[in-house]
Symmetry: C2
Subunit: 589 residues, 2 copies
């Protein structure tokens, strides 16, 4: 090794020792007779002192060192003295009195400094990602990601899970609108597809008796980039045999507790609360509720169906709902202008035609439309909403789904705006009993809510004929801070139920064979009851580090900019390469 | 859980307990009043007894169970009695006296049984991979693979390495003849490439100060399938900063010792022997020598340059070499027919025009060409070759490279044929000091032996002008049992040396920027001295399990057969999907 210690290692105990350090020149100060350089590596910072009286030659060379030069320094570990200690630095009691200096590599002047005061703009940082990756804040996230995956692996290893790699080059399924396709040179005219998940393979591993499988799997989706989405992503992928839903949920409860303990040193109370899909829709309007705060949705339809306010009355009369939120202390906070513009527009994005609002004052309602409600109605509404004087009540009158979507978005917006929660808190819950299928209005058919292999709640088989919307799947999502942090289901192993679902989804035998043939065949040769789940690794690192930017948790993220080409944006390729593949690109004029 | 114990768990201690097991019906015997079923899961086998006197209903149902049906059985753990113990089975002291049976899933009649006496042919097993994967021999290899990766991760975690994921969707480099290309839907007309290795990314991580990186990385090469090669493969990928060659070698010595200990429970003596490239070429004719056996190459050029045998004399006269092997006890074993046909053809494949051979008899040579050598010459040859009576001496007279290639192949062939080694032995060595460049006769230029980033031996910089063939790279291969099991190098961090190498390889500034721009730019902003290595994971599982078939160590391998389509062979895709990508396939008529 070119060093005998790292820059994070030296303490008062080592005073008097001669050591060699290597690293990057961080801050430097030239005080005439002495040059101080903060030497940085992954492990920390050590102050180096180049003193004229030690070696004028070395001292002179040291004065040529600039930001991000890579150097090797040998010297004696000395005390900084009581007055010069730096309690903020782990190595703050000592400095290295250098008597030897090798410039291992000069750096061009960096466009920004890794430990600079202010953060350079993201575009510049992405362009110089190799410097950005030196920022301690970003390095800490990469370390945490490593720590998290290690924690995951240790947990599953201890529980006798086996990690098995499934293929990246797989088979395209006809519906794979988001599949990346990969032309094969060896098989002319044929394409591989990159997996959106290892779903089929992990189910086959259960059929093959592997009993408990996990993998940190690379998955791909050919979609536009977003702040929280990348075309390639990693998921913690799990499948277990001879289990029921509760077995999976409690295995993952244990995983999360382990992750939070290993990574944050905190205790996560388990079991995590379980909510049904119907309950979270009713109380929070979404299947991804953020439970770091309350402010639940409340239904006042029955209170206003005979009121003098036509919008409410007519909505309820035509089968719709009037639901709302009580915003504590919101009366002062939100002006009429904000309510009539910003907040109304927000709910409008989710299909709501309007936003009704009242201030709670003297136990009754105060607003331009308050006059349409008599005193008794006003009192009943305030009571139902749990309103106190100074609170703001907001209502959406619309179909049930629109009230859900609009109020869920409004609830999140208001909670963030009012700082109703600690952004670092981690709040997790299970949502279970998702509907098996949802009606696709556009295409006039039933769509699978997850995929066509979700097992059916045993009580609901009768609804296949009478009302498929009532069939509950044995599927479950883990929701954390309002994000879907995991999703899974018990799978079908009974061919008769599988057929019922294909029938319901209008998947005929030929299509089923074409899309899922290898799995369907496997299921006929002794499939055990099994189920599984997948956790988004990127999302978990984001949750654990409290960032909303997925580019903070991936070393080499994809970006929209051409300047990041080298980091993995696609590029135009040689015509020769395409000719080899018998491919023609047919770009629109 | 649908079970309270696994099929590998029960012992005499549990006698009297009531347990529930789940698994696959393996062997079954119907003895009239009692049906015995061997119930199998990943953890073992438990014998289940369904007795008429326990429950005639259950006993009757049990008689309908066939191979690979999935069942759940509840009953009492009972002793088999002294006479019926099965010492070959971990659970052989007990059986389960069943009083409850649930058929969880019937199986179609399997095309072969996972624990059948004889192994079905590989094509059938690949077609029914989900059954093949139930074979204990194959499951053991998958478990060993898991154990091996765990061992690797533990080792590097303990040494402060950090695991970082690098992109799968990357940038194609113009020379990437073996790159898989991936058209992007979002960036029209542009292509990603799948990585042949994370080389550029791991070097950038060193520039970014991550100090010690590892990853079990997916890599891709669009090439024909072979018994030991798959188009996608996993490599244990490592890079370290502030190191010299010996630091990498000893880190990997430690890794191998750990792997062998964890997986085989054996001690691997380290440090592994280091040989120079020149030495292994001289002694074994190959840079991948199998050192499980001796039979080294011996040069007799100086002994025969004045001999009466024209072929030898002329070869040496024109600058060639006469080199050979001494095959212990080979005189009897190899007939003239085999020597003149099989073995001559073998060396012929490597360019040798002939194979000369002699038996050692009475301390001299015995063969049709022995007469061309006088007694003194014969004795000198026998002595040089270390021949004893009854040995066979074989020689190739040709250019140095041809004698190397031909005799290396012959040496391997003879050693296998003569069973000179234990196929389970693991023999590893380092080959260091590879030439930096080799002369490409066809294209009249120097080619990089590894890649253009290998650092140069400090003593050899002078040869850039005088004789580039003499420049040694700071590169190293790990060779085990005759296979390349790892390969790496110290990288260049000095821009001046990098420029010299680009000049030597005729890579101009524009081409360098196009191919390696992102890395070259990073190297200008403070690159530490660094180096690394990559180990083929598939190869290591093969070495550890003693198989030559790569399909034995990958759960879902690619195969040539269309019947394995589902397992990940490419397929024809929807025209609609291609239209979305603006791609036309232009197959030859």
């Amino acid at each position: 090794m070119l060093r005998t210690a790292t820059c994070g290692q030296l303490r008062a105990d080592q005073i008097g020792q001669t050591v060699t350090l290597c690293g990057w020149a961080d801050k430097y100060r030239d005080h005439g007779g002495v040059v101080f350089i903060d030497l940085r590596d992954r492990y920390g910072i050590t102050q180096i002192a180049f003193r004229m009286e030690e070696s004028s030659e070395i001292q002179q060379l040291s004065s040529t060192i600039r930001h991000e030069d890579v150097i090797q320094v040998t010297g004696e570990v000395v005390s900084r003295g009581e007055d010069n200690k730096n309690p903020k630095l782990a190595t703050g009691e000592i400095e290295l009195r250098a008597n030897h200096l090798v410039v291992l590599n000069k750096s061009k002047t960096p466009p920004f400094e890794p430990r600079g005061e202010s953060l350079a703009n993201e575009e510049l940082r992405l362009q110089y990602r190799f410097i950005d990756l030196r920022r301690p804040a970003l390095q800490n996230k990469m370390f945490l990601r490593h720590q998290l995956t290690r924690s995951v692996r240790n947990y599953f290893d201890e529980l006798d899970f086996i990690e098995i790699e499934t293929p990246i080059l797989g088979r395209s399924s006809p519906e794979g609108a988001r599949d990346y396709l990969v032309p094969s040179r060896v098989h002319e005219g044929a394409f591989y597809a990159l997996p959106q998940s290892p779903q089929l393979f992990k189910q086959i591993l259960m059929v093959s008796g592997y009993d408990r499988y996990y993998q940190i799997a690379k998955c791909f989706r050919d979609e536009d980039l977003r702040a929280d989405r990348q075309p390639e992503f990693s998921q913690i992928d799990i499948e277990m045999s001879f289990v029921e839903q509760e077995d999976i949920l409690s295995a993952i409860d244990g995983l999360l507790a382990r992750m939070v303990k290993d990574v944050r040193g905190e205790k996560l109370p388990t079991p995590l609360p379980r909510y049904t899909h119907a309950e979270v829709m009713e109380r929070f309007g979404t299947d991804k509720p953020d439970l770091r705060f309350g402010m639940e949705l409340t239904d006042i339809s029955d209170l206003v169906e005979e009121s003098g306010f036509g919008v409410f009355k007519n909505t309820v009369g035509s089968g719709g709902k009037v639901r709302g939120l009580c915003v504590p202390g919101g009366a002062e906070k939100y002006s009429r202008r904000v309510l009539d513009n910003d907040l109304k527009n927000l709910v409008g994005e989710y299909g709501a035609k309007g936003l009704a609002y009242f201030k709670v004052a003297n136990g009754g309602l105060d607003s331009s439309i308050a006059k349409f409600f008599d005193e008794k109605e006003q009192a009943a509404i305030v009571e139902r909403m749990g309103g106190n004087d100074g609170d703001l009540l907001v209502f959406v009158a619309d179909t049930y789904p629109v009230t859900c979507a609009a109020l869920a978005a409004l609830r999140n917006h208001l909670a963030k705006d009012l700082e109703l929660y600690d952004p670092k808190e981690l709040n997790c819950l299970w949502v279970v009993e998702f509907p098996l299928v949802t009606w696709n209005e556009d295409e006039n058919r039933w769509d699978a809510e997850h995929h066509p292999f979700c097992a059916v709640h045993p009580d609901d088989v009768e609804y296949f004929e009478s009302d498929p919307s009532k069939i509950r799947a044995l599927s479950y999502d883990l929701v954390c801070n309002g994000y879907e942090a995991a999703s899974g289901s018990i799978r079908i192993h009974d061919p008769a139920i599988q057929q019922k679902i294909f029938d319901l989804l209008n998947i005929d035998a030929e299509e089923a064979e074409e899309r899922f043939g290898f799995l369907l065949q496997a299921l006929r040769y002794g499939a055990p009851p099994h189920g599984g789940i997948a956790l988004g690794l990127d999302r978990w690192v984001m949750l654990m580090t409290g960032t909303d930017n997925i580019r903070d948790v991936i070393a080499f993220p994809k970006t929209q900019k051409a300047s990041d080409l080298m980091m993995g944006a696609p590029s135009e390729v040689d015509q020769r390469q395409l000719r080899d593949l018998n491919i023609k690109i047919d770009l629109p004029e």
